[in-house]
């Protein structure tokens, strides 16, 4: 890939990749590093990709691998793999008229376990299909579906709690 192609690729994908990286790492510094490193890996190894329609998936997959690799280097911790998660549906969800700003929603997302947050990010950030998310995260299709449902259920619970807190604040004047 020549310089022009590389520039086009960076122009096209640096924003969604940075947003995905931020949803993983939760800090701007780490998200920048991950995004930069992903493009450098593309420059070094991208020529090995035969199907150029897979460039975007390759970039997201590589960024995710880099993130996991960085985590392994930093801390050793037990890895929990939940194959199927029973969906616990919220009894109460926030009404449609209740809106939260982007920062509050991102803070709520940050509270969700990475296991559920990462597929959710791919699901809503880029409207990826289940198959594409499964390919990027190297996780079975059924697991992806259950993690997305579970993640959304967790968010609804968090938003419900936030709504209650807000209502209390109003009531207390």
């Amino acid at each position: 890939m020549d310089t022009l192609d590389f520039e086009q690729l960076v122009a096209q994908y640096h924003e969604p990749l940075f947003r995905f990286a931020y949803s993983l790492a939760q800090t701007e510094v780490e998200a920048r590093e991950l995004t930069q490193q992903t493009f450098y890996l593309w420059a070094a190894k991208g020529h090995q990709l035969r199907d150029l329609s897979k460039v975007k998936t390759w970039l997201f997959t590589t960024l995710h691998r880099e993130y996991l690799g960085g985590k392994r280097r930093q801390v050793r911790f037990p890895h929990f793999e939940l194959e199927e998660v029973e969906v616990e549906l919220p009894v109460q969800a926030p009404p449609g008229s209740y809106r939260l700003d982007g920062v509050t929603v991102r803070e709520a997302l940050a509270q969700i376990d990475e296991l559920y947050r990462v597929p959710l990010a791919l699901f809503y950030l880029e409207d990826y299909s289940y198959n594409e998310i499964a390919e990027i995260l190297q996780v079975p299709l059924g697991t992806i579906k259950s993690r997305i449902s579970r993640g959304m259920a967790m968010l609804q619970e968090l938003f419900g709690a936030d709504r209650t807190t807000a209502a209390r604040k109003v009531a207390n004047g």
């Binding site: 590389f6 520039e7 960076v10 122009a11 640096h14 924003e15 940075f18 947003r19 931020y22 949803s23 701007e28 510094v29 920048r32 590093e33 995004t35 930069q36 493009f39 450098y40 420059a43 969906v87 549906l89 969800a93 926030p94 009404p95 449609g96 209740y98 809106r99 939260l100 982007g102 920062v103 929603v105 991102r106 997302l109 959710l120 990010a121 699901f123 809503y124 950030l125 409207d127 299909s129 579906k145 997305i148 449902s149 959304m152 259920a153 968010l155 609804q156 938003f159």
Partner: protein, 245 residues
């Protein structure tokens, strides 16, 4: 289909996408249409999904990220090369030999003398190495070094303070940290500033007045302040003179 199953499916329903063509989703939507309570729940669920989508897509992207990726790639292209297999083997053998020599050298009493340090740093600047972080912003470079517990509180001479950064790396010298900060000179030649603790070295420069010396065709300027020793290197020795350190 029962209600919990319909809810589980609709928790991941995205209107306006191909999700609606999924028979499973179609069945769940039909089920919800016939259940007023579930319809209300679906309305709230879609509002939540819309907020999540909006929040993720509005994550602010740092200004200059695109340019710093392109700048970093150009820098790597300049500094990298792709040797043939036999060259790689020769390099591997050299590294092994060098490692052995360094291991022997390690026990020598003067291993941390400043001239050794400066020579090694110049060799680092000459060969291909990887920048840990790329940014033109010195504030971001210092923040990164601080985060990695490397030397970030270095004092730059006046003529270097106005120069944009290129990036930084954290190196080791006899198991001691060295901060490498790359700067872009007014002539767009990369300047390599190595910073380490003065206490780690012997025979280090004794004052803040830079000592200019050419090492392996590279120009170097070396000085010390109260706590740190600095080596500034450039492939073009003339640049250091023109900077008027």
């Amino acid at each position: 289909m029962d209600k919990p199953t319909a809810q589980e499916i609709l928790l991941r329903y995205r209107p306006g996408t191909s999700d609606a063509q999924d028979p499973e989703v179609q069945e769940a939507l039909t089920f919800a249409a016939g259940d007023p309570e579930l319809s209300q729940w679906l309305e709230r669920q879609l509002a939540t999904a819309s907020m999540v989508r909006g929040a993720l897509r509005s994550i602010p992207v740092p200004a200059g990220l695109q340019q710093s990726i392109l700048d970093g790639q150009r820098l790597q292209e300049r500094q990298s090369f792709k040797p043939r297999v036999w060259v790689r083997l020769a390099i591997a053998a050299s590294v092994l030999l060098l490692g052995t020599l360094l291991a022997l050298q390690f026990n020598r009493p003067n291993y941390s003398s400043f001239p050794d340090f400066r020579d090694r740093m110049v060799r680092t600047a000459r060969r291909s190495y990887r920048m840990d972080m790329l940014s033109a912003d010195m504030g971001q470079i210092r923040a990164y070094l601080a985060q990695k517990k490397a030397y970030e509180d270095f004092a730059l001479p006046h003529c270097l303070q106005q120069l944009p950064g290129v990036g930084c790396a954290i190196l080791r010298w006899h198991d001691r940290p060295v901060s490498l900060v790359c700067l872009d000179s007014p002539e767009h030649t990369t300047l390599y500033l190595f910073v380490t603790a003065r206490s780690h070295l012997s025979k280090e420069p004794g004052s803040t007045i830079p000592e200019i010396e050419n090492i392996s065709s590279y120009g170097t300027a070396s000085w010390s302040d109260d706590s740190k020793t600095y080596v500034l290197a450039s492939a073009d020795p003339g640049v250091l003179k023109r900077l008027r350190l």
